[in-house]
Symmetry: C2
Subunit: 369 residues, 2 copies
Amino acid sequence: MSNKQMEVEGMHIPKSYTMNGGDGPRSYTKNSSYQRTVIEESKDLINEPIEGNLDIETTCLSGTKIFAIADLGCSVGQNTFVAVQNIIEAIENKYLSKIQNRLSLEFQVLFNDHSSNDFNTLFRSLPPPHKYYAAGVPGSFYHRLFPKSSLHFVHCSYALHWMSRVPEQVLDCKSPAWDKNKVHYMNASEELHKAYSAQFKNDMESFLNARAEELVDGGLMVIVLPNQPNESNLLENARAMIYGIIESCLYEMVKLGSISQENVESFYLPLYFPSSKEFAEFIRKNGKFSIERMGTMTKHMSYLNPSVELVVRTTRAALEGLFKEQFGEEDTDEFFEHFRMKLAETFHLLDSKSREHQELFVTLKHRKH
Amino acid sequence: MSNKQMEVEGMHIPKSYTMNGGDGPRSYTKNSSYQRTVIEESKDLINEPIEGNLDIETTCLSGTKIFAIADLGCSVGQNTFVAVQNIIEAIENKYLSKIQNRLSLEFQVLFNDHSSNDFNTLFRSLPPPHKYYAAGVPGSFYHRLFPKSSLHFVHCSYALHWMSRVPEQVLDCKSPAWDKNKVHYMNASEELHKAYSAQFKNDMESFLNARAEELVDGGLMVIVLPNQPNESNLLENARAMIYGIIESCLYEMVKLGSISQENVESFYLPLYFPSSKEFAEFIRKNGKFSIERMGTMTKHMSYLNPSVELVVRTTRAALEGLFKEQFGEEDTDEFFEHFRMKLAETFHLLDSKSREHQELFVTLKHRKH
């Protein structure tokens, strides 16, 4: 097993499954406009379950006067604040009159990400007037993060596709999942895909079990993650194309002698994009949540008018940490130069259809014990 | 008013009322061994109120199964973790058998400091196995930080002597409190002392009111802060001597042309050291807490065997941020060179008696509504 894995909270988690910190030109803060559109689009989708499914009388008002919201995988930048604001507004819109008559409900927002996340930047960029008590909670959301029955609403956008680790088998040269020239299951063997899928399933089970402990009965959870359309050929999408470019750039750098073959062989992106069918299956099997709503969103891609520069910057803000850890600072710079050039050559192939990213949007309700 | 003041959370708070971050040679992490001894010494003093005064049955077990502890002004380094561990052990020792029979109590620890505190270092240095859910809460403790009745135990060690701001009058050349060559009320006019005392009183009132909202009925608060012995002459102690050295170093730098007279005139240390009599009076006047215990500790100073180097490093870890903000990086370096030299010249005057720091230790209980 690669020594890039480190022991964190009892699990093997590479150090840098976090987005680029700070607010410089390569930061996630400055390179997450795509994720921002997803949050903006999901505003109505958040309103709906609060309007229809959230029974604030039993989930909250009976006991405490606190309504606790957790944003899991919050990263840095304004996106997490916008998401949280949307949730609070939806709750206020529904309950304002009732609440005013009875008591003053207080919101607590718990911003979670790995302890390597840049919480300093996050805290310093908190919007100056905000009507909630803010806290940062460091740790992997594949573990327990909060006390029992202490949350009323969980939001997790663009985070759950980061698995807890690269599946062990794909790093083992004796395993049928071994496919040394790949960095991801897309474009790769069925065995590699299966190993990723199994890892994601395990992670989902850990995730759902932890949240089931933390959410009050009837509490809601909204999950948004990049979707793999059920019927699509894995090869026919922009994501697969980008991973293919990453692979060929790394191959080129090995040929040029910049990096070693062994280093590339142990490098994988711990990202999984479940189909909605697969995702629903995992939730049903777990049994602790009912699916209140599940759908996909596709329209927002038009906002962005993607360019080579944008794809490079977005990719770098999200993946740079992984590259630096495996290849070091200098080779990472070189890699992104290769990546920029190769992407420019093939960018015309990303026709409008294959550029259409799809998001999976799921609303879950914690079943009563 | 000096433009070094900035608007944070609706109050004027200089940006750097936080200890030096990171874990380098000048960090608070590496230069807080004195504060560590205070925490070690206060272990028994924490045990006692938990043993005698904490009614966990009514404060906690009746409602939730969460026991929430806040450490206010936690800074960085191991001290906060040691303090929290002491509190948890004391509670477990008292209630373990009862709790095991009935339910599993979960601890939540909320580490609070200004949003400019180095939370990244704090989170990354969390002890690997810890039996609590950790969260960081950014903001000034002179405001509300937590939802109503959400805390069971508050700990605040070596933090409350940092006032929310420099009193306005001392920055106003028309005020009788104006004393341009001073950086602190010690060694200064009675008017300057009064202005500081009034500011501290206001801050205490804000602090106690906020905590009264946040603590459950019967919840405990343990405060440790540097003490000014009631009967002592302000001039006859090490602290006054050190502030005197700071003043003379700044005066020297003005004469050398390194810094401007105006810059020194608007520079004050926002630190106040109440006598136990004064502190008790503020608490009684506020009326929301009963004083369960109040005392002083003096013996721990012998642990340290202070040297010029230690005093320079400790002073720098705590005050460097204030200096940098007022004078800039370079002049701060120069200042600490002057400080080191002048301290070395006069160090022999710090005889064993005047080196004896005293800590004020107070246990408060939130009165039932």
